[in-house]
C-alpha cells in the first residue's frame, strides 16, 4: 500500500534489533490482585498486550483512541467520539469480546461494544489478547478480546492521582484515581469525566455539527481478606453518557443517544487443601435511549438486565498440574421498542487444564459447552503450548474453536427477527515466535481463522431485512509487536512500543476482501525521559480500505498516517506534578475511517497530572 511507510517501519524494527539494555520488563507484584486471573493463567501460547494507567493517560479518554494508537485492532469510527466498532484480526464488529473484570459486556442487543462508550479513566489497566477465547470468555471472542480491569493492591498504600486535561473544541477530560490498601483491605476508586463540543472543521470547509458528547464513569473495587483462606471482593461500575450523532450535512435530522449502564460483581474466594473456589454473582444493567429526531421528545430504547452466577473451582493435582472447572449461568431479561420482552437463559460448563513439563514447556487444554433453548450451541475447545528453546527464543502455538451467539436484535426484532439462527463459529490456529534479547521483545504471530455461519441482515424476497446465517469468511495474516527500552548514562531513558498487522479477510464465496478491513495497520509509540522532562511520540498508519463488497477500488478510503506529540515537565520536590501539552495529529492529516466522516485536523491539549 504505502511502500515508503512500510520501509521506514521495517527499518525501525531492524535498528531496534541491534540495540540492547540490561533492563527487564517489570513483573507485577504478587500483592496485586486481578479478578480476571484467567487472562494470566490461561493464555498459554498467546500474547497479552497490557496498557497501564500511565499509558492510558497518554491518550484520549475514549477507548477507541487508546486502542487505535497502541494495538493492532483496526477501528471504524463515524467521526471523533461517534459510533465506533473494531475489526480485530479481520473479523466483524461483534467478533471482539469485551470483558469487564472478566465479565463479558458486549451488548445483548447487537453483540457489539461501541468503543466510544468506554471511558478508559475508569480502569487500572486494559489488556488485549489476539485470537479466540470463547472457552473462557464466551460469545464474541473470535478475533480477540479486550479486558478492562480493576486491580486491588493488598499492601500498605494510599495514593491519589488527579489528571486534568483541556483541549481544542472545549474538550475536557478529568480522571481521579484513589487507591487505599493494607495487607487485609484494598480499595480502588476511579472517577472519570469526559466532554467535548467536538465541533472541529472538516478539510472540505464544513464543520462537525451536532457531534457533542459527555460521559461520566465511576468504578469501585473493594477487597477484604477475611482470613488466610477466605476473601471477599466487590467491583462496581456506573456509566452515564450522552452523545449527539454528528451530521454530514447541516440540513440533516439531528439525533442523540444516551447510555446508562451499571455493572456489579461480588466474589468470594475460598481455599481448602489443594482447592481454590471462587463463587461469583454479577448483575449487569444495559440501558440505551435513542432520540431519532431532536425536534421531538420521542425515543426508542433497549434495556437488558443480566444476572450471572458463576462457580469456579481449581484443583492443584500436583505442583505442575492444575485442573479448573467453571460453571456459569447467565440469565438475561431484555426489552426494547421493537423487541418486546424476552428472557434468555444460558448455562455453560468449562473444563480447563494446564500442565508445566520441565522448565521449558507447558501446555493447556480447555473445553466448553453451553445449554440454552435459544440456539444450538457448538462444542468449543482451546489448546495451547509454549516451548522455550533458549533464553532468547520461544515458540507459542494455539488452536481453538469459538463462537458468537445470535443477539436479541437478531432473534427477536419485530417481524424480522429469525428464531432459527445458529451461532457464528470460528476454527482457528496461530503460531508465534517470541524473541527476547535484554530489554528487546519481538513477537511475530501468524494465524488462520475460518469463520462460518456469519450472521448478516439481508433484504428478503418480500423486501423485509432479516438476519440469516449467510457468509463464510477466511482470514489469515501476521501480527507483530515490538517492545524495547533503554537508559543511557542513567539519564536518557527511551522506550519504544510498536505493532504491525497484515490482514487478509475474504468472503469465501466471492473471494473479495471484507469492507473496512485494511491490509496494513501499524502503530508506534516512542517515549523519552530526561530528568524531569518527558516526551511521547505516537504514530498510526492505516492502509486503504474497501468500502464496497465488490472491492470496487473507485470508492476506496485512502491510507492515512496520524501522529501525536506530547511534552511534559514534572514539578515539585518529589515530582508529584506533571504539566504538559499535546499536539494531536501534528501532521494535520486529512483522514476518515468511515466514508464521509472526517476526523479532526491538528489540535491541541494541555494537561496536569497530580500524584499524592
Amino acid at each position: 500500500m504505502n511502500f515508503r511507510f512500510n520501509c521506514i517501519f521495517v527499518g525501525i524494527l531492524l535498528c531496534a534489533g541491534f540495540l540492547y539494555s540490561q533492563e527487564r520488563t517489570v513483573t507485577p507484584l504478587d500483592s496485586v490482585y486481578l479478578t480476571d486471573s484467567k487472562l494470566k493463567e490461561y493464555s498459554t501460547g498467546r500474547d497479552v498486550l497490557t496498557l497501564s494507567d500511565s499509558i492510558l493517560r497518554q491518550n484520549r479518554a475514549l477507548l477507541t483512541n487508546t486502542l487505535n494508537f497502541n494495538t493492532p485492532i483496526y477501528f471504524k469510527e463515524n467521526g471523533l467520539g461517534m459510533v465506533s466498532s473494531p475489526s480485530f484480526r479481520g473479523t466483524t464488529a461483534s467478533q471482539t469480546a469485551v470483558l469487564w473484570n472478566g465479565i463479558n459486556i458486549n451488548s445483548q442487543f447487537n453483540g457489539q461494544l461501541d468503543f466510544n462508550t468506554i471511558n478508559t479513566g475508569a480502569y487500572s489497566e486494559i489488556s488485549v489478547r489476539g485470537g479466540g477465547g470463547s472457552v473462557v470468555y464466551g460469545t464474541g471472542a473470535i478475533g480477540g478480546s479486550v479486558h478492562l480491569n480493576t486491580t486491588l493492591s493488598f499492601e500498605k498504600l494510599q495514593e491519589h492521582n488527579l489528571f486534568l486535561q483541556y483541549g481544542s473544541y472545549n474538550t475536557r477530560d478529568a480522571r481521579y484515581h484513589f487507591k487505599l490498601g493494607t495487607d487485609q483491605w484494598s480499595l480502588n476508586l476511579a472517577l472519570s469525566r469526559n466532554s467535548s463540543n467536538n465541533d472541529y472543521e472538516y478539510p472540505n470547509g464544513g464543520e462537525n455539527l451536532n457531534g457533542q458528547f459527555e460521559n461520566t464513569a465511576l468504578n469501585v473495587g473493594l477487597g477484604f481478606k477475611i482470613n488466610n483462606k477466605n476473601s471477599i471482593r466487590i467491583f462496581s461500575e456506573l456509566f452515564d453518557g450522552e452523545r449527539h450523532f454528528s451530521l454530514i450535512r447541516a440540513s440533516e435530522t439531528a439525533t442523540k443517544y444516551q447510555d446508562l449502564n451499571s455493572k456489579n460483581l461480588l466474589e468470594w474466594e475460598s481455599r481448602f487443601g489443594d482447592f481454590t473456589s471462587i463463587t461469583r454473582v454479577a448483575y449487569l444493567d444495559e440501558y440505551y435511549k435513542y432520540f431519532g429526531n431532536l425536534n421531538y421528545d420521542s425515543f426508542t430504547f433497549g434495556r437488558a438486565k443480566t444476572f450471572i452466577a458463576k462457580y469456579d473451582l481449581s484443583y492443584s493435582v500436583a505442583d505442575n498440574v492444575t485442573l479448573n472447572t467453571v460453571l456459569t449461568n447467565t440469565n438475561t431479561t431484555g426489552e426494547g421498542s421493537s423487541l418486546g420482552e424476552n428472557d434468555r437463559n444460558i448455562f455453560a460448563a468449562a473444563l480447563l487444564m494446564k500442565h508445566q513439563l520441565g522448565s521449558d514447556f507447558k501446555y493447556e487444554l480447555g473445553f466448553r459447552k453451553e445449554a440454552t433453548a435459544n440456539y444450538e450451541s457448538p462444542f468449543l475447545f482451546s489448546v495451547g503450548a509454549t516451548k522455550d528453546f533458549s533464553e532468547f527464543f520461544s515458540l507459542n502455538v494455539n488452536a481453538s474453536r469459538n463462537f458468537r451467539i445470535p443477539t436479541y436484535n437478531d432473534l427477536y426484532w419485530s417481524s424480522a427477527g429469525n428464531p432459527d439462527l445458529l451461532p457464528e463459529k470460528s476454527l482457528q490456529g496461530q503460531l508465534s515466535a517470541v524473541f527476547n534479547y535484554n530489554s528487546l521483545r519481538l513477537t511475530i504471530t501468524a494465524y488462520y481463522n475460518s469463520v462460518t455461519d456469519m450472521i448478516r441482515w439481508l433484504p428478503g424476497s418480500d423486501g423485509v431485512w432479516r438476519p440469516v446465517n449467510e457468509d463464510e469468511v477466511q482470514i489469515y495474516g501476521l501480527e507483530s509487536g515490538l517492545n524495547w527500552s533503554k537508559t543511557f548514562k542513567n539519564k536518557h531513558r527511551f522506550s519504544l512500543n510498536a505493532t504491525y498487522a497484515y490482514t487478509i479477510s475474504e468472503n469465501e464465496e466471492t473471494g473479495y476482501q471484507l469492507i473496512y478491513v485494511p491490509f496494513h495497520k501499524a502503530t508506534a509509540g516512542l517515549n523519552y525521559n530526561y530528568k524531569r522532562l518527558h516526551t511521547n511520540l505516537q504514530f498510526l498508519y492505516v492502509g486503504a480500505v474497501f468500502t464496497r463488497s465488490d472491492n470496487n477500488s473507485r470508492y476506496n478510503l485512502d491510507a492515512y498516517t496520524v501522529g501525536n506529540f506530547s511534552l511534559g515537565y514534572r514539578l515539585g520536590k518529589s515530582e508529584q506534578f506533571e504539566l504538559g501539552g499535546r499536539i494531536n495529529n501534528f501532521l494535520d492529516a486529512e483522514y476518515q475511517s468511515v466514508e464521509n466522516r472526517w476526523m479532526p485536523g491538528r489540535n491541541y491539549t494541555m494537561y496536569l497530572n497530580f500524584k499524592l
Binding site: S251, N293, R548, E595
Partner: protein
C-alpha cells in the same frame, strides 16, 4: 397510464386540430440535453454514503452510473438516501430523505439549478400542481401524527406552507387536480388522503381494510394492494388483498383475496388497463376487471431482492436491492423477456422517465 392520457389527448388533438393549418412554428422546440431520451434511476446509496442518480438511454445502449457528479463535479452531492424525483416543466427535483433537501436540476442536462433545504423533515415524494410542489414529509418515524405535506413555491424554492396530515404518509399521485396521498409508510397505515391544492385541505380520506402497500388510480377507481396478519404457525405469514374503491361514491370491495403466504403481493402499478404487481421477485399481470388470482408469473427477476419496480412505455423495470456495492436494474418487455441488465448505483429504488 400517463401514456394512455397522452395518446387520448393526441387522438383528440387529431380531431380538433385537424382543420388548423399545419404550421411548424407552432410546435414547441424539442428539449435539448444529453439526457433527453432516456430515464433516471434513483440510488439511495450506503448508510454513510451519498445517494446518486443513474441515467440509461431509451435504446438501453448507453448509461451513466452517477450523472449528477458527471455534470456537476464541483457541486455538493445529492445527499444521503436519494428517495425520489419529481418533474415540473424543464426541471427535475431530486429528494434526499436522509439530508432533508431537494436538489433542483435541469431534467435534460442535469445541470444544477438550486436547492430547497429548509423546513423539510424526512421528505419522501413530490408532485407539482399549478407551479407549487407538494412534498410528503415523515418527520418523527415513531408516529404519523406529525407527518406533513410541504408546499413549495418553485419560483423562490421556499416552503410556503406545511399541511399536517395526521397519519403516516408516503407516495402521492395527482389525478384531476387532486392529490391522492398514500396514508401508509412501510406497510404501516391504511388510508388514502385526498388533498385539494386549491384550498390546501384534506377533502376526503379513504380507508382500506388491510394495511396499505401501494395503490394506483384508473378510470375513477382506486386499486390498492393491502395485507392483513393471519393466524399461522409462521408469524410472517399474511394474506394480501386487491381492494377497489369508487372515487365518486367511496364504495369499497375486495376484488381479489390472494392466498396466504410469507411473501405477499406488493408494488401495484397500472399501465394500459393492466395491473402489474410483484410477489417476491416475480412479476404478475392481470386485467383491471379480473377477480381471479393469476396462476402463473409473467416473469421472475434474476436478482434476489426486487427493490425498485415500474412499468412504462411497454417495458417492465426492476431494480436489485443491493446496498453494499453497485447494483443493477433489469429491463423486460411486456411479454416477460429480458432486454438488458445494466449496472447502476447502490440501493436503486425508482425509475423516472424523460
Amino acid at each position: 397510464m400517463k401514456i394512455n392520457k397522452l395518446s387520448l389527448l393526441a387522438l383528440l388533438g387529431v380531431f380538433i386540430l385537424n382543420s388548423c393549418s399545419n404550421d411548424d412554428d407552432n410546435l414547441e422546440p424539442l428539449p435539448e440535453g444529453d439526457y433527453t431520451d432516456g430515464f433516471f434511476v434513483t440510488n439511495e446509496g450506503m448508510f454513510d454514503g451519498r445517494g446518486t442518480v443513474s441515467f440509461i438511454s431509451d435504446d438501453l445502449q448507453t448509461s451513466d452510473i452517477d450523472v449528477y457528479s458527471t455534470v456537476n463535479p464541483s457541486k455538493s452531492d445529492l445527499g444521503q438516501f436519494v428517495q425520489s424525483i419529481f418533474f415540473d416543466e424543464d426541471n427535475a427535483y431530486v429528494i434526499s430523505n436522509g439530508s432533508n433537501y431537494i436538489t433542483v436540476v435541469d431534467r435534460y442536462t442535469f445541470e444544477y439549478i438550486g436547492v430547497i433545504d429548509s423546513e423539510l423533515s424526512i421528505p419522501r415524494y413530490g408532485e407539482v400542481v399549478n407551479g407549487k410542489a407538494y412534498v410528503t414529509n415523515q418527520g418523527d418515524f415513531s408516529t404519523g401524527a406529525d407527518d406533513y405535506v410541504a408546499v413549495i413555491d418553485l419560483e423562490t424554492l421556499k416552503v410556503e406552507n406545511t399541511l399536517i396530515i395526521g397519519n403516516k404518509i408516503d407516495k402521492l399521485e395527482e389525478e384531476d387536480g387532486l392529490l391522492y396521498i398514500q396514508g401508509s409508510a412501510f406497510n404501516d397505515g391504511n388510508s388514502i388522503n385526498v388533498l385539494d391544492p386549491t384550498s390546501n385541505t384534506i377533502t376526503t380520506t379513504f380507508t382500506t381494510e388491510g394495511s396499505l402497500n401501494s395503490f394506483d388510480i384508473e378510470d375513477g377507481f382506486i386499486y390498492a394492494l393491502t395485507r392483513k396478519d393471519v393466524e399461522s404457525t409462521d408469524p410472517l405469514e399474511k394474506v394480501a388483498y386487491l381492494e377497489k374503491i369508487d372515487l365518486a361514491t367511496g364504495n369499497k370491495s375486495n376484488q381479489i383475496v390472494f392466498s396466504q403466504a410469507t411473501s405477499v403481493a406488493k408494488n401495484l402499478t397500472i399501465e394500459d388497463d393492466t395491473i402489474y404487481y410483484m410477489i417476491g421477485t416475480s412479476v404478475y399481470k392481470i386485467a383491471l376487471s379480473t377477480s381471479e388470482e393469476p396462476s402463473q408469473a409473467l416473469l421472475t427477476f434474476s436478482g434476489n431482492s426486487a427493490y425498485g419496480f415500474d412499468v412504462e412505455d411497454d417495458r417492465i423495470f426492476i431494480a436489485q436491492g443491493t446496498f453494499d456495492s453497485d447494483s443493477f436494474v433489469e429491463i423486460y418487455s411486456l411479454d416477460g423477456s429480458l432486454l438488458k441488465n445494466i449496472t447502476v448505483g447502490i440501493g436503486p429504488n425508482g425509475f423516472y422517465f424523460n
